[in-house]
Amino acid sequence: MKRVAIVGYAQHPILKNAGALNEVELIMPVVHQLFNDLGISQKDIDFTCSGSCDYLQGAAFAFVEGLSAIQTNPPIKESHVEMDAAWAMYESMLKIQMGDAETALIYGFGKSSPGDLDAIISLQMDPYYISPLWPDRVSLAALQARVLLNQNIITQEQMLATVMEARTNSKNNKNALITDLIDESDYLNNPMVSSPLNKLDCPPISDGSSAMIIASEEKAYEFTDHPIWIEGIDHRIESSNLGSRNLATSNTLQASMKQLNLKNIKFDVAELHTQFSHEVPFLKFLLNLQDVPTNLSGGPLVGNVMMCAGLDAVGKTYESLKDNQLTHGLAHATSGPCLQHNMLVHLEAKK
Protein backbone atom coordinates (compact mmCIF):
# COMPACT_ATOMS: atom_id res chain seq x y z
CA MET A 1 0.00 0.00 0.00
CA LYS A 2 1.24 3.45 -0.92
CA ARG A 3 1.09 5.78 2.03
CA VAL A 4 -1.45 8.59 1.64
CA ALA A 5 -2.04 11.57 3.90
CA ILE A 6 -4.65 14.23 4.42
CA VAL A 7 -2.97 17.60 3.91
CA GLY A 8 -5.92 19.97 4.20
CA TYR A 9 -9.62 20.21 4.99
CA ALA A 10 -12.11 23.09 4.90
CA GLN A 11 -15.79 23.30 5.80
CA HIS A 12 -18.42 25.90 4.94
CA PRO A 13 -20.35 27.20 7.97
CA ILE A 14 -23.39 24.91 8.18
CA LEU A 15 -26.55 26.83 7.31
CA LYS A 16 -30.18 26.19 8.13
CA ASN A 17 -31.19 27.63 4.79
CA ALA A 18 -28.60 28.78 2.27
CA GLY A 19 -31.38 30.57 0.40
CA ALA A 20 -30.29 31.86 -2.99
CA LEU A 21 -26.70 30.61 -2.54
CA ASN A 22 -26.44 27.81 -5.07
CA GLU A 23 -24.25 24.71 -4.84
CA VAL A 24 -21.39 26.29 -6.79
CA GLU A 25 -21.41 29.28 -4.45
CA LEU A 26 -21.26 26.92 -1.47
CA ILE A 27 -18.32 24.91 -2.85
CA MET A 28 -16.14 27.74 -4.18
CA PRO A 29 -15.21 29.31 -0.83
CA VAL A 30 -14.06 26.01 0.73
CA VAL A 31 -12.02 24.94 -2.30
CA HIS A 32 -10.39 28.36 -2.52
CA GLN A 33 -9.71 28.43 1.21
CA LEU A 34 -7.91 25.09 0.88
CA PHE A 35 -5.90 26.26 -2.14
CA ASN A 36 -4.95 29.49 -0.38
CA ASP A 37 -4.02 27.77 2.89
CA LEU A 38 -1.70 25.38 1.02
CA GLY A 39 -0.53 27.93 -1.54
CA ILE A 40 -1.56 25.73 -4.47
CA SER A 41 -4.00 25.81 -7.39
CA GLN A 42 -6.08 23.36 -9.42
CA LYS A 43 -3.02 22.57 -11.55
CA ASP A 44 -1.41 20.94 -8.50
CA ILE A 45 -4.34 18.50 -8.31
CA ASP A 46 -4.13 15.27 -10.32
CA PHE A 47 -7.60 13.94 -9.59
CA THR A 48 -10.83 15.61 -8.44
CA CYS A 49 -13.73 13.66 -6.96
CA SER A 50 -17.01 14.91 -5.54
CA GLY A 51 -19.89 13.46 -3.57
CA SER A 52 -23.45 14.72 -3.86
CA CYS A 53 -27.01 13.59 -4.45
CA ASP A 54 -28.89 14.59 -7.59
CA TYR A 55 -32.18 13.81 -5.81
CA LEU A 56 -31.59 16.78 -3.51
CA GLN A 57 -31.42 19.14 -6.49
CA GLY A 58 -34.14 17.24 -8.32
CA ALA A 59 -32.31 16.96 -11.63
CA ALA A 60 -30.27 14.30 -13.38
CA PHE A 61 -26.52 15.04 -13.56
CA ALA A 62 -26.98 18.05 -11.27
CA PHE A 63 -23.54 17.27 -9.83
CA VAL A 64 -21.95 18.47 -13.09
CA GLU A 65 -22.99 22.00 -12.04
CA GLY A 66 -20.72 21.65 -9.01
CA LEU A 67 -17.72 21.44 -11.33
CA SER A 68 -18.27 25.09 -12.19
CA ALA A 69 -16.74 25.82 -8.78
CA ILE A 70 -13.32 24.62 -9.92
CA GLN A 71 -11.16 25.32 -12.92
CA THR A 72 -11.77 22.60 -15.52
CA ASN A 73 -9.88 24.11 -18.44
CA PRO A 74 -7.39 22.74 -19.39
CA PRO A 75 -9.34 19.46 -18.94
CA ILE A 76 -8.98 17.65 -15.59
CA LYS A 77 -9.34 14.03 -14.43
CA GLU A 78 -12.56 13.99 -12.51
CA SER A 79 -15.16 11.66 -11.01
CA HIS A 80 -18.26 11.76 -8.84
CA VAL A 81 -19.99 9.46 -6.39
CA GLU A 82 -23.73 9.61 -5.71
CA MET A 83 -22.78 9.07 -2.08
CA ASP A 84 -21.35 10.92 0.86
CA ALA A 85 -18.04 12.57 -0.08
CA ALA A 86 -16.27 10.15 2.30
CA TRP A 87 -16.68 7.68 -0.57
CA ALA A 88 -15.21 10.25 -2.96
CA MET A 89 -12.21 10.15 -0.64
CA TYR A 90 -12.17 6.36 -0.90
CA GLU A 91 -12.21 6.53 -4.70
CA SER A 92 -9.39 9.09 -4.57
CA MET A 93 -7.38 6.74 -2.35
CA LEU A 94 -7.79 3.99 -4.97
CA LYS A 95 -6.73 6.36 -7.72
CA ILE A 96 -3.53 7.15 -5.83
CA GLN A 97 -2.94 3.45 -5.04
CA MET A 98 -3.28 2.65 -8.75
CA GLY A 99 -0.57 5.18 -9.56
CA ASP A 100 -2.94 7.35 -11.60
CA ALA A 101 -2.59 10.33 -9.26
CA GLU A 102 -0.37 11.70 -6.52
CA THR A 103 -2.81 14.34 -5.27
CA ALA A 104 -6.59 14.53 -5.07
CA LEU A 105 -9.17 17.20 -4.30
CA ILE A 106 -12.36 15.88 -2.72
CA TYR A 107 -15.49 17.88 -2.11
CA GLY A 108 -19.04 17.25 -1.05
CA PHE A 109 -22.09 19.47 -1.01
CA GLY A 110 -25.74 19.34 -0.14
CA LYS A 111 -28.73 21.62 0.22
CA SER A 112 -31.51 19.86 2.09
CA SER A 113 -33.52 23.00 2.87
CA PRO A 114 -35.37 23.49 -0.44
CA GLY A 115 -37.08 20.07 -0.54
CA ASP A 116 -38.73 17.55 1.73
CA LEU A 117 -35.76 15.45 2.85
CA ASP A 118 -37.91 12.68 4.35
CA ALA A 119 -39.76 12.18 1.07
CA ILE A 120 -36.57 12.39 -1.00
CA ILE A 121 -34.69 9.81 1.07
CA SER A 122 -37.67 7.43 0.70
CA LEU A 123 -37.12 7.49 -3.05
CA GLN A 124 -33.57 6.22 -2.64
CA MET A 125 -34.70 2.98 -1.03
CA ASP A 126 -35.45 -0.39 -2.66
CA PRO A 127 -38.02 0.60 -5.35
CA TYR A 128 -39.98 -2.69 -5.17
CA TYR A 129 -40.59 -3.46 -1.52
CA ILE A 130 -39.72 -0.28 0.41
CA SER A 131 -40.03 3.01 -1.52
CA PRO A 132 -43.74 2.48 -2.37
CA LEU A 133 -44.45 2.58 1.40
CA TRP A 134 -42.75 6.00 1.73
CA PRO A 135 -40.87 5.30 4.95
CA ASP A 136 -39.17 8.46 6.18
CA ARG A 137 -35.54 8.34 7.36
CA VAL A 138 -36.50 9.05 10.99
CA SER A 139 -38.95 6.13 11.14
CA LEU A 140 -36.37 3.75 9.70
CA ALA A 141 -33.76 4.91 12.24
CA ALA A 142 -36.40 4.54 14.97
CA LEU A 143 -36.82 0.84 14.09
CA GLN A 144 -33.18 0.28 15.01
CA ALA A 145 -33.40 2.51 18.09
CA ARG A 146 -36.29 0.39 19.42
CA VAL A 147 -34.39 -2.86 18.86
CA LEU A 148 -31.34 -1.47 20.69
CA LEU A 149 -33.43 -0.13 23.59
CA ASN A 150 -35.44 -3.34 23.83
CA GLN A 151 -32.29 -5.47 24.04
CA ASN A 152 -30.69 -3.09 26.59
CA ILE A 153 -27.75 -2.46 24.27
CA ILE A 154 -28.36 1.24 24.82
CA THR A 155 -30.57 3.23 27.21
CA GLN A 156 -32.84 6.25 26.90
CA GLU A 157 -30.49 8.01 29.37
CA GLN A 158 -27.58 7.52 26.95
CA MET A 159 -29.66 9.05 24.16
CA LEU A 160 -30.44 12.09 26.32
CA ALA A 161 -26.77 12.40 27.36
CA THR A 162 -25.73 12.21 23.69
CA VAL A 163 -28.06 15.04 22.70
CA MET A 164 -26.88 17.26 25.58
CA GLU A 165 -23.21 16.49 24.94
CA ALA A 166 -23.48 17.21 21.21
CA ARG A 167 -24.72 20.70 22.01
CA THR A 168 -22.02 21.26 24.64
CA ASN A 169 -19.39 20.12 22.14
CA SER A 170 -20.70 22.44 19.45
CA LYS A 171 -18.60 25.19 21.09
CA ASN A 172 -15.53 23.41 19.64
CA ASN A 173 -16.95 23.73 16.13
CA LYS A 174 -17.06 27.18 14.56
CA ASN A 175 -19.23 25.86 11.74
CA ALA A 176 -21.90 24.19 13.90
CA LEU A 177 -25.51 25.03 13.10
CA ILE A 178 -27.06 24.09 16.48
CA THR A 179 -25.32 25.68 19.45
CA ASP A 180 -28.01 26.24 22.10
CA LEU A 181 -27.83 24.08 25.18
CA ILE A 182 -30.77 22.06 26.46
CA ASP A 183 -31.64 20.44 29.76
CA GLU A 184 -33.34 17.19 30.60
CA SER A 185 -36.85 18.66 30.67
CA ASP A 186 -36.41 20.21 27.20
CA TYR A 187 -35.59 16.73 25.96
CA LEU A 188 -38.34 14.88 27.77
CA ASN A 189 -41.00 17.41 26.74
CA ASN A 190 -40.07 17.34 23.07
CA PRO A 191 -42.74 15.69 20.92
CA MET A 192 -41.93 12.40 19.20
CA VAL A 193 -41.27 12.58 15.47
CA SER A 194 -41.36 8.83 15.14
CA SER A 195 -41.33 7.08 18.48
CA PRO A 196 -38.89 6.31 20.11
CA LEU A 197 -37.12 9.28 18.41
CA ASN A 198 -38.08 12.85 19.25
CA LYS A 199 -37.05 15.96 17.38
CA LEU A 200 -33.88 16.42 19.47
CA ASP A 201 -32.74 12.87 18.69
CA CYS A 202 -32.64 13.84 14.99
CA PRO A 203 -30.17 15.98 13.06
CA PRO A 204 -31.11 19.46 11.81
CA ILE A 205 -31.91 20.07 8.13
CA SER A 206 -28.63 21.56 6.92
CA ASP A 207 -27.01 23.17 3.88
CA GLY A 208 -23.29 23.36 3.25
CA SER A 209 -20.16 21.95 1.69
CA SER A 210 -16.69 20.67 2.58
CA ALA A 211 -13.45 19.97 0.77
CA MET A 212 -10.30 17.97 1.48
CA ILE A 213 -6.97 17.36 -0.20
CA ILE A 214 -5.06 14.09 0.09
CA ALA A 215 -1.63 13.31 -1.30
CA SER A 216 0.86 10.48 -1.65
CA GLU A 217 3.92 10.39 0.59
CA GLU A 218 6.04 11.94 -2.18
CA LYS A 219 3.76 14.96 -2.47
CA ALA A 220 2.38 15.37 1.04
CA TYR A 221 5.39 17.19 2.47
CA GLU A 222 5.41 19.61 -0.45
CA PHE A 223 1.98 20.75 0.75
CA THR A 224 2.38 20.73 4.52
CA ASP A 225 4.80 19.94 7.36
CA HIS A 226 2.00 18.18 9.24
CA PRO A 227 0.33 15.55 7.08
CA ILE A 228 -2.04 13.16 8.85
CA TRP A 229 -1.72 9.64 7.48
CA ILE A 230 -4.56 7.43 6.38
CA GLU A 231 -3.32 4.29 8.12
CA GLY A 232 -6.37 2.22 7.27
CA ILE A 233 -9.63 2.58 5.37
CA ASP A 234 -12.34 -0.03 4.86
CA HIS A 235 -16.00 0.06 3.89
CA ARG A 236 -18.67 -2.63 3.77
CA ILE A 237 -22.37 -2.75 3.05
CA GLU A 238 -25.18 -4.89 4.43
CA SER A 239 -28.24 -6.22 2.61
CA SER A 240 -30.74 -3.77 1.13
CA ASN A 241 -33.32 -6.19 2.46
CA LEU A 242 -33.83 -4.36 5.76
CA GLY A 243 -35.84 -7.20 7.29
CA SER A 244 -33.05 -9.73 6.86
CA ARG A 245 -30.52 -7.66 8.80
CA ASN A 246 -29.80 -8.03 12.50
CA LEU A 247 -30.27 -4.43 13.65
CA ALA A 248 -28.83 -5.18 17.10
CA THR A 249 -25.30 -5.43 15.75
CA SER A 250 -23.23 -4.69 12.67
CA ASN A 251 -21.41 -7.63 11.15
CA THR A 252 -19.87 -5.37 8.56
CA LEU A 253 -18.40 -2.94 11.09
CA GLN A 254 -16.95 -5.86 13.01
CA ALA A 255 -15.40 -7.20 9.82
CA SER A 256 -13.93 -3.76 9.05
CA MET A 257 -12.43 -3.52 12.56
CA LYS A 258 -10.80 -6.89 12.06
CA GLN A 259 -9.56 -5.99 8.59
CA LEU A 260 -7.99 -2.76 9.90
CA ASN A 261 -6.62 -4.53 12.97
CA LEU A 262 -8.07 -1.90 15.32
CA LYS A 263 -8.33 -4.07 18.43
CA ASN A 264 -5.08 -2.99 20.07
CA ILE A 265 -5.03 0.64 18.99
CA LYS A 266 -5.62 3.22 21.68
CA PHE A 267 -7.57 5.95 19.96
CA ASP A 268 -7.21 9.52 21.21
CA VAL A 269 -10.29 10.78 19.44
CA ALA A 270 -13.19 9.58 17.26
CA GLU A 271 -15.73 11.30 15.03
CA LEU A 272 -18.76 9.25 14.08
CA HIS A 273 -21.30 9.91 11.32
CA THR A 274 -24.11 9.33 13.79
CA GLN A 275 -27.19 11.16 12.61
CA PHE A 276 -29.46 9.98 15.40
CA SER A 277 -28.79 10.03 19.14
CA HIS A 278 -29.13 6.25 19.65
CA GLU A 279 -26.37 5.59 17.12
CA VAL A 280 -23.67 7.17 19.32
CA PRO A 281 -23.81 4.77 22.31
CA PHE A 282 -24.41 1.87 19.87
CA LEU A 283 -21.30 2.58 17.80
CA LYS A 284 -19.19 3.46 20.85
CA PHE A 285 -20.09 0.01 22.17
CA LEU A 286 -19.42 -1.78 18.87
CA LEU A 287 -16.17 0.05 18.17
CA ASN A 288 -14.83 -0.15 21.76
CA LEU A 289 -14.78 3.62 22.11
CA GLN A 290 -16.30 3.84 25.61
CA ASP A 291 -13.27 5.75 26.95
CA VAL A 292 -12.46 7.66 23.77
CA PRO A 293 -13.52 11.33 23.39
CA THR A 294 -16.10 11.06 20.62
CA ASN A 295 -17.74 13.69 18.40
CA LEU A 296 -15.94 16.62 20.02
CA SER A 297 -17.22 18.64 17.04
CA GLY A 298 -20.79 17.92 18.16
CA GLY A 299 -21.21 15.57 15.21
CA PRO A 300 -24.21 15.43 12.88
CA LEU A 301 -26.65 16.33 15.66
CA VAL A 302 -25.39 19.95 15.52
CA GLY A 303 -25.10 20.12 11.72
CA ASN A 304 -25.69 17.38 9.18
CA VAL A 305 -24.97 18.38 5.60
CA MET A 306 -26.20 15.53 3.44
CA MET A 307 -23.40 14.02 1.31
CA CYS A 308 -20.77 15.84 3.43
CA ALA A 309 -21.28 14.73 7.02
CA GLY A 310 -19.23 11.54 6.51
CA LEU A 311 -16.33 13.46 4.97
CA ASP A 312 -16.71 15.95 7.83
CA ALA A 313 -16.18 13.14 10.36
CA VAL A 314 -12.87 12.39 8.63
CA GLY A 315 -12.04 16.11 8.41
CA LYS A 316 -12.86 16.77 12.07
CA THR A 317 -10.72 13.80 13.13
CA TYR A 318 -7.90 15.19 10.99
CA GLU A 319 -8.26 18.62 12.64
CA SER A 320 -8.29 17.11 16.15
CA LEU A 321 -5.07 15.18 15.54
CA LYS A 322 -3.36 18.14 13.89
CA ASP A 323 -4.44 20.87 16.33
CA ASN A 324 -3.99 18.90 19.55
CA GLN A 325 -0.88 16.86 18.74
CA LEU A 326 -2.74 13.58 19.18
CA THR A 327 -1.66 10.30 17.57
CA HIS A 328 -4.56 8.01 16.68
CA GLY A 329 -8.01 9.00 15.41
CA LEU A 330 -10.95 6.97 14.14
CA ALA A 331 -13.51 8.37 11.71
CA HIS A 332 -16.75 6.73 10.62
CA ALA A 333 -19.01 7.47 7.67
CA THR A 334 -22.34 5.85 6.89
CA SER A 335 -24.97 5.59 4.20
CA GLY A 336 -28.35 3.91 3.89
CA PRO A 337 -30.99 3.15 6.53
CA CYS A 338 -30.04 1.88 10.00
CA LEU A 339 -26.25 2.13 9.43
CA GLN A 340 -26.46 -0.16 6.37
CA HIS A 341 -23.17 0.92 4.80
CA ASN A 342 -20.22 1.92 6.94
CA MET A 343 -16.70 3.17 6.39
CA LEU A 344 -13.95 3.27 9.00
CA VAL A 345 -10.88 5.45 8.56
CA HIS A 346 -7.90 5.12 10.89
CA LEU A 347 -5.87 8.34 10.91
CA GLU A 348 -2.44 8.67 12.47
CA ALA A 349 -0.11 11.57 13.12
CA LYS A 350 3.52 10.50 13.04
CA LYS A 351 5.63 12.12 15.74
Partner: protein
Protein backbone atom coordinates in the same frame (compact mmCIF):
# COMPACT_ATOMS: atom_id res chain seq x y z
CA UNK B 1 -32.07 40.87 -26.67
CA UNK B 2 -34.22 38.33 -28.44
CA UNK B 3 -37.93 38.17 -27.98
CA UNK B 4 -38.89 35.52 -25.39
CA UNK B 5 -40.94 33.58 -27.96
CA UNK B 6 -37.70 32.83 -29.81
CA UNK B 7 -36.23 30.96 -26.86
CA UNK B 8 -35.84 27.21 -27.08
CA UNK B 9 -38.03 25.49 -24.51
CA UNK B 10 -38.17 21.94 -23.20
CA UNK B 11 -40.67 20.37 -20.82
CA UNK B 12 -39.29 19.28 -17.45
CA UNK B 13 -41.13 16.74 -15.36
CA UNK B 14 -39.82 16.20 -11.84
CA UNK B 15 -40.92 12.59 -11.37
CA UNK B 16 -39.98 8.94 -11.21
CA UNK B 17 -40.90 8.70 -14.91
CA UNK B 18 -39.29 5.41 -15.85
CA UNK B 19 -40.42 1.79 -15.67
CA UNK B 20 -38.78 -1.07 -13.85
CA UNK B 21 -38.96 -4.78 -14.48
CA UNK B 22 -39.62 -6.94 -11.43
CA UNK B 23 -37.66 -9.97 -12.66
CA UNK B 24 -38.66 -13.62 -12.21
CA UNK B 25 -38.63 -13.87 -8.39
CA UNK B 26 -40.33 -10.61 -7.52
CA UNK B 27 -42.84 -11.01 -10.39
CA UNK B 28 -44.06 -14.24 -8.80
CA UNK B 29 -44.25 -12.52 -5.40
CA UNK B 30 -46.30 -9.63 -6.81
CA UNK B 31 -48.56 -11.93 -8.89
CA UNK B 32 -49.37 -13.83 -5.69
CA UNK B 33 -50.01 -10.59 -3.77
CA UNK B 34 -52.63 -9.83 -6.42
CA UNK B 35 -54.40 -12.99 -5.19
CA UNK B 36 -53.95 -11.98 -1.55
CA UNK B 37 -51.20 -14.54 -0.95
CA UNK B 38 -47.79 -13.70 0.50
CA UNK B 39 -44.82 -15.70 -0.75
CA UNK B 40 -41.27 -16.11 0.43
CA UNK B 41 -38.20 -17.68 -1.09
CA UNK B 42 -36.57 -20.66 0.62
CA UNK B 43 -32.85 -21.32 0.73
CA UNK B 44 -31.24 -24.79 0.59
CA UNK B 45 -30.69 -24.52 4.35
CA UNK B 46 -34.43 -23.96 4.77
CA UNK B 47 -34.31 -20.24 5.57
CA UNK B 48 -37.36 -18.38 4.26
CA UNK B 49 -37.18 -14.74 3.11
CA UNK B 50 -40.35 -12.71 2.80
CA UNK B 51 -40.73 -10.41 0.95
CA UNK B 52 -39.17 -12.81 -1.55
CA UNK B 53 -35.41 -12.23 -1.84
CA UNK B 54 -33.60 -13.10 -5.06
CA UNK B 55 -30.55 -14.31 -3.19
CA UNK B 56 -29.46 -15.10 0.35
CA UNK B 57 -27.50 -12.05 1.59
CA UNK B 58 -25.21 -14.28 3.65
CA UNK B 59 -24.46 -17.21 1.35
CA UNK B 60 -25.27 -15.37 -1.92
CA UNK B 61 -27.16 -18.48 -3.01
CA UNK B 62 -29.70 -17.78 -5.74
CA UNK B 63 -33.22 -18.35 -4.39
CA UNK B 64 -36.04 -19.78 -6.49
CA UNK B 65 -38.20 -22.09 -4.36
CA UNK B 66 -41.38 -20.31 -3.32
CA UNK B 67 -43.39 -21.01 -0.18
CA UNK B 68 -46.50 -19.30 1.15
CA UNK B 69 -46.15 -17.41 4.45
CA UNK B 70 -48.35 -15.28 6.71
CA UNK B 71 -50.76 -13.52 6.51
CA UNK B 72 -50.22 -13.33 10.28
CA UNK B 73 -46.93 -12.47 11.89
CA UNK B 74 -45.24 -10.84 14.84
CA UNK B 75 -43.76 -7.37 15.27
CA UNK B 76 -39.95 -7.33 15.40
CA UNK B 77 -39.72 -3.55 15.75
CA UNK B 78 -41.88 -0.51 15.07
CA UNK B 79 -41.77 3.27 14.97
CA UNK B 80 -44.95 5.14 15.85
CA UNK B 81 -45.93 8.25 13.90
CA UNK B 82 -48.44 10.39 15.74
CA UNK B 83 -48.48 13.11 13.08
CA UNK B 84 -48.12 11.64 9.56
CA UNK B 85 -46.37 13.74 6.93
CA UNK B 86 -47.76 14.66 3.50
CA UNK B 87 -46.03 11.82 1.70
CA UNK B 88 -47.21 9.11 4.09
CA UNK B 89 -49.96 6.85 2.73
CA UNK B 90 -51.89 6.74 6.01
CA UNK B 91 -53.26 10.00 7.33
CA UNK B 92 -54.08 8.87 10.88
CA UNK B 93 -51.48 7.87 13.50
CA UNK B 94 -49.78 4.64 12.41
CA UNK B 95 -46.56 2.65 12.69
CA UNK B 96 -43.85 1.55 10.33
CA UNK B 97 -42.87 -1.93 11.42
CA UNK B 98 -40.70 -4.91 10.70
CA UNK B 99 -43.03 -7.90 10.70
CA UNK B 100 -41.85 -11.50 10.74
CA UNK B 101 -44.59 -13.40 8.91
CA UNK B 102 -45.50 -16.89 10.07
CA UNK B 103 -43.24 -19.30 8.24
CA UNK B 104 -40.60 -16.68 7.41
CA UNK B 105 -37.17 -16.11 8.95
CA UNK B 106 -36.73 -12.52 7.80
CA UNK B 107 -39.03 -9.54 8.32
CA UNK B 108 -41.12 -7.40 6.00
CA UNK B 109 -41.16 -3.63 6.33
CA UNK B 110 -44.76 -2.44 6.25
CA UNK B 111 -47.25 -0.32 8.15
CA UNK B 112 -49.56 -1.07 11.07
CA UNK B 113 -52.77 0.94 11.43
CA UNK B 114 -56.17 0.88 13.14
CA UNK B 115 -54.61 0.68 16.59
CA UNK B 116 -52.94 2.82 19.26
CA UNK B 117 -49.28 3.07 20.10
CA UNK B 118 -49.96 1.40 23.45
CA UNK B 119 -51.33 -1.69 21.63
CA UNK B 120 -47.93 -2.38 20.09
CA UNK B 121 -44.79 -3.92 21.45
CA UNK B 122 -42.11 -6.23 20.10
CA UNK B 123 -43.83 -9.60 19.69
CA UNK B 124 -47.35 -8.22 19.11
CA UNK B 125 -49.36 -10.38 16.68
CA UNK B 126 -50.61 -8.65 13.51
CA UNK B 127 -52.21 -9.74 10.25
CA UNK B 128 -52.40 -8.36 6.72
CA UNK B 129 -55.31 -6.10 5.71
CA UNK B 130 -55.74 -6.02 1.93
CA UNK B 131 -56.34 -3.05 -0.33
CA UNK B 132 -59.69 -2.86 -2.12
CA UNK B 133 -57.94 -2.93 -5.49
CA UNK B 134 -55.01 -5.05 -6.61
CA UNK B 135 -52.08 -3.37 -8.37
CA UNK B 136 -49.66 -6.28 -7.86
CA UNK B 137 -47.53 -3.99 -5.75
CA UNK B 138 -46.35 -4.15 -2.15
CA UNK B 139 -49.20 -1.73 -1.36
CA UNK B 140 -51.72 -4.49 -2.20
CA UNK B 141 -51.23 -5.13 1.49
CA UNK B 142 -52.92 -1.97 2.71
CA UNK B 143 -51.33 -2.29 6.13
CA UNK B 144 -51.25 -4.77 9.00
CA UNK B 145 -53.75 -4.73 11.87
CA UNK B 146 -53.86 -6.34 15.30
CA UNK B 147 -54.74 -10.03 15.08
CA UNK B 148 -58.22 -10.63 16.47
Amino acid sequence: MSDSKDLLRAPFELAYNYKRSSGPVMSEFFEALGQQKILGTKSRAGKVFSPAAEFDPETHESLKEMVEVGPGGSVESFSWIEVPQNHHLIKDPFAFALIKLDGADSSMLHMIADCNEADLSIGTRVTAAWSETSDKRITDIKFFTLEK
